[in-house]
Amino acid sequence: MSAVTLIARDELRLMRRNRVAVVAFALLVLLTLAAALISWSHQQSITQTRARFQAQAAKEFETQPDRHPHRMVHFGNFVFRPLGLLAAFDPGVDAFTGNSMFLEGHRQNSANFGDVRQSSMLVRFGQLTPAFVLQVIAPLLLIFLGYGAVARERERGTLRQMLVQGVSARAVVMGKLLALGVVAALVGLPAMIAFLLIAGQPGALAGPMLVIALGYAAYLALWAIIVILMSALARRGRDALLALLALWVVLVILLPRIAPDVAAQAHALPTRLETDIAIARDLHKLGDSHNPDDPFFKAFKEKTLRQYGVTRVEDLPVNYSGLLAMEGEKLTSGLFDDYADRSFAIQAAQTRLNDGFGIISPAIALKRLSMAAAGTDLTGHRRFMTQAEAYRYDMVQRLNRLQAEAVSYANDTAKDAGADRRKRISAGHWETIPQFQFKPARAADLVKASLPGLGLLLAWLVIAALALLPVARHLQKARP
């Protein structure tokens, strides 16, 4: 058996004898399992609730009575963002974004009823998920178990004995690292088992799961290296412990909070109110559909008449009001998309700046990787918003087309007592409007989105591993 494995075995035996270490390890494993269970059941109940609401909304839409189609444009529809399976591991921003959206004509509503506004302030202390345990708490356990690994040997003089006996400093460092690496693997194991259980579910994506497993393995390995590095560098064990704790606070707790502040100040996001006003102003500039002499809508009317080869709107084979509604919706939706793109571009710039801090904090890099692969990041939210808007547009235009084709112009513009009845079309039409189907991200896209985070983590890992070499040399030379 080589010196490295001997040293590793010895270190592990020592840890096993340390009651506090064993208790702490057991607690962490329990915490991971509890987090996985809670997170899983939470994910399941969210999925069920949203599916139930989605079914209810769909039923309500289809069972509306005979109506003028434009009434249905304003009755609108609700859509709910389903939660992917991997959200049970890392729910990401789900609690912070609304998960339901009301869709109606000429309006772009926000996603509402996020958990954060329906829970107590405690939600801001963090959420008990496997991702949280592995990102935040697992490194702390590695610090407590490993800070003395090398420092202890030096403080007690056993390091010198080993070196005199011909064990190289490199073997000592590698042995200690191996031992801590085994602990790190054990720490990550419960989460990975929970992960595999998820993988057994239909619809789980293998690629993103692999990236997540790889990312967390790299993260824990990185911490094991950092701990051993510090333990070898510090003069005394307690110095190593304090330095490591300080490092953990800065990298895991402090920087992830400061980075968003910097990003938010660097790229200011306009408020909804300003966006709404700007959209209204732009619309006004485009034209006023209520004004018969408006140049834009006059041109539209002339074009329509030409197209059908008639001279009066009354002679059109379709209802002109419906055509006008379609044109109006096209204009407003174009603006909505435009402004939404701008808002998301600013948010993407914020996120990029935030992610840039991953260069100095591996916790930020890991968070990016984890959320991106789980599909629970801002991009995932945007995927929902974009699809919801596309669905809204399609639904409204189908209803407008119904107005154009199933309601006559004469009835639509009539104002007599019976007109209201004649404007209505049969309720059967509502069933022809397709229901919202959320298309989840493809595995390849999730993997691609998580690669930058993984790249950063691997770069950290390589640099930390390379730093081990001079430290081992330094230890060797330190032999007095």
Partner: protein, 416 residues
């Protein structure tokens, strides 16, 4: 006095102690500055929207003035409401980053408007803000641990403990002096930036004193914990490890567990339910006889009963009435939803009695008026304003009074 000065010199000679104190002061300054910058930004945004809002109303006024139709005025006019940050908001930004502090509403159904969200990047909100509350609740205990974990054990390990204890009579005083000195300096490092920020933000003296008192108590709690651990006579390293573990459990693990427990124990009927119900009620009005709606409306609002009866033509008073009837039909659901949220909030406050970090965070957010209660209070102000808006437009609609350009000026103004 000279003894304290001597202790101070001794303390300042320890590089780690000086570094820790400087770092606390720096973090405190940075947090106060960041908080004040954020609050200033929010105030600027609130100020910035006013002229835009006025312009928006002016363009609607110019257009509605032609028809003098009060209904169109009510339908197309959005009115701004806002929740200006309280003076102390800079210290604990609370929910102000995820809940809207500006909301535009109009005189239609309120329940469909009240829960709209503000545009914000959820990824930035996820880790929580860097504010004074964060420095105090999360980071300060770590500095307490760094400064106090080896107070006694360090002397023991250096071989001076027996000697120090042997100094006749002064043994107890010595430790008291050292604890007070370190605690006092830590307090100053936190309190001075906070107090300066508070004075600049015109925080009332009583509130500032309350916050400072809370800082003292929180420091006292963590110092007591470290001293209690020190009585176990373990080594400095064992002390540090144990204390860090305790910190982890008290500030991170137990609050997250409490969050899960509270949300499990107090189910909140999803807000979605009430918006679904409200929409159903509002849209049903198109399918039932209009007189039914008016009867339901007049039952609650007899003051408009004498309004002329509806004709076959569309009338906005019916439109607004069915919106209000829709709101009223879900009043029970609204109250239940609100009770659920309040119960969760109250539960979190109770947890605060057991977990000092939670207690300090919730109390600080309460004093800063950035917590859930403040959010609900803002919703109440919106409700109240919305009521005034409705009554204002009803005054024209139910008496068929023409609504001209000048009448836009008379619309109720939201008082922030």
């Amino acid at each position: 006095m000279t003894l304290v000065a001597y202790e101070l010199r001794l303390l300042l000679r320890s590089r780690m102690a000086v570094l820790a104190l400087l770092l606390v002061a720096l973090l405190s300054i940075a947090a106060v500055a960041a908080g004040m910058a954020e609050v200033t930004r929010q105030r600027d945004v609130i100020a910035r929207i006013q002229p835009q809002q006025a312009q928006d109303i002016a363009s609607i006024a110019a257009w509605v003035d032609k028809s003098k139709d009060a209904g169109s005025a009510a339908y197309y006019s959005f009115h701004a409401t806002w929740d200006a940050p309280a003076p102390l908001a800079f210290a604990a930004l609370g929910l102000r980053d995820v809940a809207p502090y500006i909301l535009r509403i109009r005189a239609l159904g309120l329940e469909a408007q009240l829960y709209d969200g503000e545009a914000f990047n959820p990824e930035l909100a996820l880790p929580g803000r860097f504010d004074f509350a964060f420095v105090l609740v999360y980071l300060t205990p770590l500095f307490v641990i760094a400064l106090f974990h080896d107070l006694v054990s360090g002397e023991r390990e250096a071989g001076r403990l027996r000697m120090l204890d042997a100094i006749a009579g002064s043994g107890r005083h010595l430790w008291a002096r050292r604890v007070l000195l370190r605690g006092g300096l830590l307090f100053l490092a936190l309190a001075v930036p906070l107090a300066i920020g508070a004075i600049l933000s015109q925080v009332p003296g009583v509130t500032l004193l309350a916050v400072l008192g809370m800082v003292v108590l929180y420091l006292a709690f963590w110092i007591s914990v470290t001293l209690l651990i020190a009585r176990l006579r373990w080594s400095s390293v064992a002390n540090a490890a144990t204390l860090a573990g305790l910190w982890l459990v008290l500030t991170l693990i137990l609050p997250t567990v409490a969050h899960v427990a509270i949300n499990q124990a107090i189910p909140v009927g999803q807000g979605v339910e009430l918006t679904l119900a409200q929409r159903e009620a509002v849209n049903r009005a198109w399918d039932i006889p209009r007189e039914d709606t008016m009867r339901a409306f007049y039952a609650h609002h007899p003051e408009w009963r004498d309004s002329p009866p509806l004709t076959a033509a569309f009338h906005y008073k019916w439109y607004l009435a069915f919106h209000q009837v829709g709101d009223e039909s879900v009043a029970g659901k609204v109250a239940a939803y609100r009770r659920g949220i309040e119960a969760r909030d109250a539960a979190a406050h109770s947890v605060g009695w057991l977990l000092p970090p939670v207690g300090v965070q919730t109390l600080l957010a309460r004093l800063a008026e950035t917590d859930m209660q403040a959010q609900l209070a803002y919703q109440d102000r919106i409700r109240h304003f919305h009521k005034r808006l409705r009554n204002f437009y009803y005054g024209y609609l139910f008496t068929d009074t023409p609504f001209g350009k000048a009448d836009f000026e008379k619309a109720p103004k939201f008082r922030g």
